[in-house]
Symmetry: C2
Subunit: 241 residues, 2 copies
DNA sequence: GTAATGTTTCGGCCATGATCGAACTGTGGA
DNA sequence: TCCACAGTTCGATCATGGCCGAAACATTAC
């Protein structure tokens, strides 16, 4: 009954699964559209829109209009710090949101994250592209370099279609909490996964997000994306306000 | 849909008004009983008991049985740090839980906090007792010194009854967020307020937590608890795990 | 023993709010 | 101009969970 900051209001704002997913997705530091956040949160666009309105009103996120897209980002480093603290506490208390079977090794090895590859293989791919200078930092976050464009074209990706057809961001890094590392998302991440699936390098495990390599696919993947040692993948600051 | 700590679960635990009140009350660093926490949270004992079970299961509080009382305290400094961060963010975002009329000056001057006095007058009382060595730090938090016992006895408090009759903690400091200072709670805090009410030094304002001094009462109060300058009231660490 | 006090469990009521379908607004491209 | 796409608003549904009364359980005092 005392006066004071309304702890409950701000915590309740975070303490709703869909909103928590949205905020977690925004922890990568980049602005995402309503539709993207809806997918991340696993809800429809209407629902996400409502949640984002609440989050904005609560001062946790800020919108930025760009054409017919509306990008949302975390509002400042203080919000990120609070989320970090909460994530740490949740991890320390053993509260994990591992829905599809806790600690499944195959999920850690390679899995689908929305429409791109995550897990150890996803990180390998990302690191390998970065280390060879195919990906580089850009004002918008992450960009394909000239050498990178040549590489993915040689890999079999139709970059022109990718860039023209969809309005979606080409490259984005996606932070995995299990690995604490980034992997490649965005239109390119999707295209790479699609291509590898089409080449039978790997296939989805039914009823799971896991991906399983074929033996030939594993060899081809290792050749295309050789492992990188001594590389710190977090080149860009994920907490840029 | 990513793996990771369950942000929502831990935040939802905090983001419920009653539970948030409980946690805020525990931010003082001392263990409180179920009944006390129920009063702090403004709910019945059954409800508080249920909330505390959830908080315990979530790893935010730890119980400690002592006879027929069950004391709850925050579980470690990490929890306190998260709450601090949340309180700070809430304050920064202007989320205040001032239910009874925002910024009522009479509430700030003197008000009831459960059963003892809070507000500027409450802080004055507390500081005055501390500065004169009537209250001092103790293993249990706060204790009445020998001089203090003599003082309150002279003031008209029946210390023997207070100590024998009730099992309640005699002295406790209560942290006010509006003032960021401590005031005296516990059995003694209650007894002092009751005594002053009985002496017509002040009376409750109907329908409010505010207390209003009579003119004679104000003079008597000022004489009994002279203001203390240059005194930092937070002598004990409120964050002791 | 009985009484008093503190805490928990059970049951049912009820409000909050999350969710989605459908319809509407606004922007950009052909 | 028409269409496609992004986002918002509205309305209805529905589940979660907070809440308290009553009663059981536990512990201490007398």
């Amino acid at each position: 009954m005392k006066e004071g900051p309304d702890l409950a209001r701000i915590a309740a704002l975070i303490g709703e699964p869909a909103r928590a997913n949205i905020l977690t997705a925004l922890m990568a530091g980049r602005a995402l559209t309503v539709t993207e956040l809806a997918t991340e949160a696993g809800v429809t666009v209407q629902t996400a829109s409502g949640h984002l309105a609440r989050l904005e009103e609560g001062g946790l996120v800020v919108p930025r209009r760009s054409g017919r897209h509306k990008y949302f980002a975390l509002r400042g480093a203080e919000v990120a710090r609070v989320l970090e603290a909460l994530l740490g506490l949740a991890a320390a208390r053993g509260h994990l949101r591992s829905r599809p079977g806790p600690r499944d090794p195959s999920l850690r090895a390679a899995r689908v994250c929305y429409d791109h590859m995550a897990g150890e293989a996803g990180i390998r791919l990302y690191d390998s592209l970065l280390a060879r200078g195919f990906l580089g930092p850009a004002p918008e976050g992450l960009a394909l370099t000239e050498a990178g464009a040549a590489f993915v074209t040689g890999f079999g990706i139709d970059l022109a279609t990718l860039r023209a057809g969809r309005r979606r961001v080409l490259c984005r890094d996606c932070l995995d909490w299990s690995e604490r590392r980034s992997h490649l998302a965005g239109a390119l991440g999707r295209a790479l996964l699609d291509h590898m699936l089409g080449q039978d390098w790997l296939h989805r495990v039914e009823g799971s997000r896991a991906l399983r390599f074929t033996s030939a696919g594993r060899r081809a993947f290792d050749a295309a994306f050789p492992p990188v040692d001594h590389w710190f993948p977090e080149g860009t600051n994920p907490q840029a306000a």
